[in-house]
Amino acid sequence: MWDWSYAASILPRLLSALQATFIATAWGFALACTLGLVLAVLSRSRFVLVRLTVDGISEFIRRTPLLVQIFFLFYSIPLLTGISVPALTTGIIGLGLHYSTYMSQVYRSGIEGIDNGQWEAAKALNFTPVRTWSAIILPQAIPPILPIMGNYLIVMFKETPLLAAITVVELLTTAKNINARDWRPFEPYTIVGVLFLVISLIVAFLVGWLENRMKQRYTR
């Protein structure tokens, strides 16, 4: 059944396929963090119309499957705009957009955890809204939510095989290609599973460490 030498022979190819997986995860996560912050801040806007629009968009994205969104982006962006975007880029946009709506909820929980007195003190000291966010609110809101953000990083990492559906050659696609060539499904898919497990565990460990550090803040 399990052939160690065969497994060893396909390992380099699978490891190099990890590169696309990492790129999709990293950029998708960066996009989700940035866009999520924008959504979170806008959803607290003074203007009702802005709040409703932002919340409507978030709701829509969250209530439809990521796979459908990725397909939609892949086939519709070129049709609608006439620009052909590489599959990996489309995948990053899809992942980032989808998870930004979850990330905005995470930011929101962090922001709502800030005592109202902080906003009032910032106003009393005449900070502008931008300064209030950047100097007072976010530096307090983000550290406690870093562990949750880390967990979303793991979730996104595990969702990258969805990009196989739009021809991105990442880990799963590579395993599929190996299977198509050699007719041996056991080793490649097992290795893919193990790779996901090992990397997730490492990140989870780092997240746990971060969580501990965050608990010790400001008491130095």
């Binding site: 007195g117 009032e120 003190a121 009393a124 900070f127 502008t128 809204p129 307090q140 400001y218 008491t219």
Partner: protein, 280 residues
């Protein structure tokens, strides 16, 4: 509202329409409430307050909880908007601004400009927990007033020395006692050099043994003079000691006001008499 826009002179450097021509000298009160009302839904908590505070004047606001004292201070700090009426700061409406000869609701820019004259110290300190003591005091001078690093530092240290905390520059607020936290908060507000400072029940959240040190600091600042103070307080001895004038409010109205000796010595209204009797 004034609609005589045609005769309006070209930009005079001031938009204080109601007091046009008058210099912003000591004759103009630093703060002036005119028929200021505040409602929450159907509940009116302030029924038309008229109150002037002269430049440098120390006014104590006393009265039972729920009398609206804190709301009065919060409206001045622009934390709550009056339902009607006008609050003027140095002769200029706080919550309204002039546009095309009409007074309209103030925008953020106007409020930002007006706020530079007002400071506030809160009951619950509201220090920034992610910044050390020194940074709590330098942050606003740097980011709001645009001072350079050394100047902000010097000003902050001066203020922290004034409140007796120059040895705590490098610690986080979580390491301080309540009294020390409140003194940092006072330094943080003072460093902005406001024309009037609202002290909103600043000792109410403190353990009894820590009240004295905070009141002593405020008294010292009051004796320095120039800055007007609105002292919202339950400390009667302190009000008598520091205030030029005491105002007793109840149920959203000013019931009695006058110099401390008068108000505490010969209270006129039954309301004030019964209120004061609880402090003997």
């Amino acid at each position: 509202m004034d609609t005589a826009t045609k005769e309006e002179p070209a930009f005079t450097g001031s938009v204080s329409k109601p007091h046009q021509g008058k210099p912003a000298a000591s004759a103009v009160p630093v703060v002036s409430y005119r028929d200021v009302k505040k409602s929450y839904g159907d509940l009116e908590v302030l029924h038309g307050i008229d109150l002037d505070i002269a430049a440098g004047e120390k006014v104590a606001l006393i009265g039972p909880s729920g009398s609206g004292k804190t709301t009065l201070g919060r409206m001045l700090m622009t934390l709550e908007e009056p339902t009607s009426g006008v609050i003027e700061v140095e002769g200029e409406p706080l919550w309204q601004m002039e546009r095309n000869g009409k007074l309209v609701r103030a925008n953020e820019h106007h409020l930002h400009r007006m706020r530079s004259k007002i400071g506030m110290v809160f009951q619950h300190f509201n220090l920034f927990p992610h910044m050390k003591v020194l940074r709590n005091v330098t942050e606003a001078p740097r980011k709001v007033l645009g001072l350079d690093k050394e100047e902000a530092h010097d000003r902050a240290v001066e203020m922290l020395r004034k409140v007796g905390l120059e040895d705590k520059l490098d610690v986080y607020p979580s390491k301080l006692s309540g009294g020390q936290k409140q003194r940092v908060a006072i330094a943080r507000a003072l460093v902005m050099r406001p024309k009037i400072m609202v002290f909103d029940e600043v000792t109410s959240a403190l353990d009894p043994e820590l009240v004295g040190e905070v009141l002593a600091v405020i008294k010292e600042i009051a004796e320095e003079g120039e800055m007007a103070m609105m002292l919202i307080t339950h400390e009667m001895d302190f009000a008598r000691d520091v205030a030029d004038r005491v105002i007793f409010g109840a149920d959203g109205r000013i019931v009695e006001s006058g110099p401390p000796q008068e108000l505490f010595g010969q209270p006129k209204s039954d309301r004030l008499k019964s209120f004061l009797s609880r402090f003997v």
